[in-house]
């Protein structure tokens, strides 16, 4: 790879920014319940699906975090989405195949996926 001009430099910068985005202040948070209950219900595959979807779409400014049990174990895997300045929305019984819908509807377009929501805090 040879960097010939400013445009080449900017291209590398974009990719590198995305790759290191976890280290910066990010706008939107996606929080996966990873208590014993969450993991037992399949939270790991859901998290992997979330990461894949985000990198596939090249979405910037998102951090994927995990949290412990919040007590609603029967609805695990739970996934919370917090957009800046908006209430925290909790989705329940999330399956890997639901992930693309949550990402495209809620993260990208700001529309809550009604049929999966269990709570709004």
């Amino acid at each position: 790879m040879v960097i010939k001009n400013l445009d080449d430099l900017r291209k590398i910068k974009e990719t590198a920014k995305q790759a290191t985005s976890a280290r910066h202040e990010n706008g939107t948070q996606v929080i996966v319940g990873m208590g014993t209950c969450g993991i037992a219900a399949g939270a790991r595959t859901v998290m992997t699906a979330i990461l894949e979807e985000i990198s596939r779409r090249g979405i910037q400014n998102v951090s994927v975090m995990q949290t412990g049990c919040i007590g609603m174990c029967q609805r695990e895997p739970l996934v919370d989405v917090v957009r800046p300045g908006e209430p925290r929305v909790t989705y329940g019984n999330v399956k890997p195949e639901d992930v693309p819908r949550i990402i495209s509807e809620h993260l990208v377009n700001g529309r809550i996926v009604g049929d999966l929501v269990v709570a709004k805090i």
Partner: protein, 596 residues
């Protein structure tokens, strides 16, 4: 394309944390993550120095930005199980504020970092120093791209506007220096980076070289473009093997991608950089001695003028700047000189990195705006003096600097104010001393260093520092005379006046400043035959008090059999045999041994 990692585990791989064991954490972390099938979603990154080396190895987990200290390989499991899988912070590895002992999980909330303004150190500890992409991702080489689109004179104008002054100690305006080299006649010119960091306790240059090597290359390329040089040298001491390795890697990456070499970024400008390893002589930090050393001659200063700007390396015009100076250049070009100049005082702009050591809770590197007070650095950032002891003095500017007392703690720090107070900015070493420090002993320590490092060219420096050291030794050994203080002062002024380079001109500073602010310490040694701080062995004696229960531990631990006594009876120290090592006092379980 690399898969997006949800979490980044940053493990410090600087020299400090490496020696406290971070090298074992990284493979352990990678192996354990792989075992759990998490190696694709959690990225382990080896970074440069965060500046809080004393608490290393440091591990920071993003996106939460949780700051873990003194992490051992055995802790890796817990970090993965609790933090990375379940999202629970590992409380016992968190940093605690020295004053309140409260745990602080967030990097940004730690008092040590809160008052800092990281400009030269901005990437240190936050990017992988061996990755060109991560440097570019952190706005790297954008300053160079901008500089190459400007005229060389405009680049110098921007540096002048920033008010940046030499960070190696001299404090000469950087823009003016560049201007002189540009104006010098000659078609072959050089850029030299002075990485011969030699002050005891100072390690800011090493941290930048290890943690952000591309920043130095970028600064040097910009300088080369503006002064009209096509070749650069980094003179780095061989005692910095990691810095040299990272620099070599960075130079190779820059050559491979065309950021060094011919026709950089399509501008038609060519530049290459070589590394010259120095053998670590203190005097080689002096620019003419450094140049002599690169040329393969003995590292000795020569009279100036001619200045290196006119006749430097191999007689060609050469621009020489310190590592920290170059580290500031890329951002000055990218953000403009005005932004840099908005920080600091009237005469000293921007920020300065200080290396905090000595009797202070948070030892490490702190970058602060010029004009901050010593009190803020020592108490707010440094966390104050440990063990409830009282502050006595702060030594600033390395062996050429001076010791400042408590009444000057509120002095706003800049080049001028420090020189006026009898110290100097130097490279930014800050050694904090508490009430148990003997100032005569401190002066002796620093003079011992400069005496050792004097190259021997000038008689006043070579012989004068030796005579001064003899006098200080005499005072510390209890044989001081009334003539010693005036004699020290007269020698000091002759050495200052009669030495060619800054080493000799500043070598008496530690003695002069301690004589100025702590004359009582000297007089107590000479007149009262006492060392008020109880440091100088000649004046110290140990006695056993009536608290002695006769356990016999002191007798056992004494290396010279100076203690006599029967079990359950009071013991005695023979002052003629005692070598004042203090082992008995440290061992006594009943605090029955007094020092005085």
């Amino acid at each position: 394309m690399e898969k997006l990692a949800r979490a980044h585990v940053l493990v410090c791989g600087g020299t400090g944390c490496s020696s406290s064991g971070s090298k074992e954490i990284i493979p352990e972390m990678r192996d354990k993550l792989k075992e759990k099938g998490m190696d694709m979603e959690v990225k382990v990154v080896e970074t440069g120095c965060h500046g809080l080396c004393e608490l290393g190895p440091l591990v920071i987990v993003y996106p939460e930005g949780v700051f873990y200290i003194r992490v051992k390989p055995a802790d890796v499991d817990e970090i993965i199980e609790n933090h990375l899988i379940k999202g629970r912070v590992v409380e016992r590895l968190l940093y605690r504020e020295p004053a309140t002992l409260a745990t602080v999980p967030d990097y940004d909330d730690i008092a040590f970092y809160k008052k800092q303004k990281r400009y030269a150190l901005v990437n240190c500890g936050h990017i992988n120093p061996e990755s060109l992409e991560e440097y570019i991702g952190a706005d790297g080489y954008e300053g160079l791209a901008k500089a190459l689109s400007m005229k060389p004179e405009e680049v110098i104008g921007e540096v002048k506007k920033s008010g940046l002054r030499g960070r190696g100690g001299g404090g000469f305006p950087t823009g003016n220096k560049w201007q002189f080299t540009r104006a010098a006649a000659g078609d072959k010119k050089y850029v030299i980076c002075n990485a011969d960091e030699g002050d005891p306790g100072a390690f800011m240059d090493r941290s930048v070289l290890e943690g952000d090597p591309h920043r130095i290359l970028e600064g040097m390329i910009i300088c080369g473009y503006s002064v009209g040089a096509d070749e650069g040298y980094i003179y780095c001491r061989a005692e910095y093997p990691l810095a040299i390795k990272r620099l070599q890697g960075a130079i190779k990456q820059a050559m491979d991608t065309g950021l060094l070499g011919e026709n950089i970024l399509g501008s038609g400008f060519n530049f290459t950089i070589h590394i010259k390893e120095g053998a670590g002589a203190f005097v080689c930090g002096e620019e003419t001695a450094l140049i002599a050393s690169i040329e393969g001659r003995r590292g000795m200063p020569r009279p100036r003028p001619p200045f290196p700007a006119n006749s430097g390396l191999w007689g060609k015009p050469s621009n020489i700047n310190n590592v920290e100076t170059f580290a500031n250049i890329p951002s000055i070009l990218r953000d403009g000189g005005d932004y840099f100049a908005s920080q600091g005082t009237e005469t000293s702009k921007g920020t300065k990195v200080f290396a905090l050591t000595g009797k202070i809770n948070n030892t490490g590197l702190a970058e602060v705006p010029m004009g901050i007070t010593m009190r803020e650095i020592i108490y707010d950032i440094g966390g104050g003096i440990p063990d409830g002891k009282k502050f006595k003095a702060v030594q600033i500017g390395g062996p050429s600097g001076g010791c400042l007392p408590e009444q000057l703690l509120d002095l706003a720090i800049d080049y001028e104010s420090l020189t006026k107070a009898g110290a100097m900015m130097g490279s930014g070493g800050l050694v904090v001393m508490d009430e148990t420090t003997c100032m005569v002993d401190v002066a002796r320590y620093f003079l011992n260093f400069t005496q050792d490092e004097s190259c021997g060219k000038c008689t006043p420096c070579r012989e004068g520092t030796k005579r001064m050291l003899e006098i200080l030794n005499r005072i510390c050994d209890g044989h001081g005379t009334d003539d010693d203080i005036p004699l020290l002062e007269s020698l000091a002024s002759s050495i200052k006046a009669g030495s060619l380079c800054a080493l000799g001109q500043t070598a008496p500073n530690p003695v002069l400043s301690t004589l100025n602010f702590f004359r009582n310490d000297y007089e107590a040694h000479i007149k009262d035959h006492k060392c008020p701080a109880g440091v100088c062995a000649a004046f110290v004696g140990y006695t056993i008090t009536d608290n002695c229960r006769g356990c016999g531990l002191c007798k056992k631990v004494c290396p010279v059999d100076a203690i006599t006594g029967e079990i359950k009876g009071k013991h005695l120290i023979d002052p003629n045999k005692c070598i004042k090592c203090g082992a008995c006092q440290a061992k006594c379980p009943f605090k029955a041994i007094d020092k005085g």
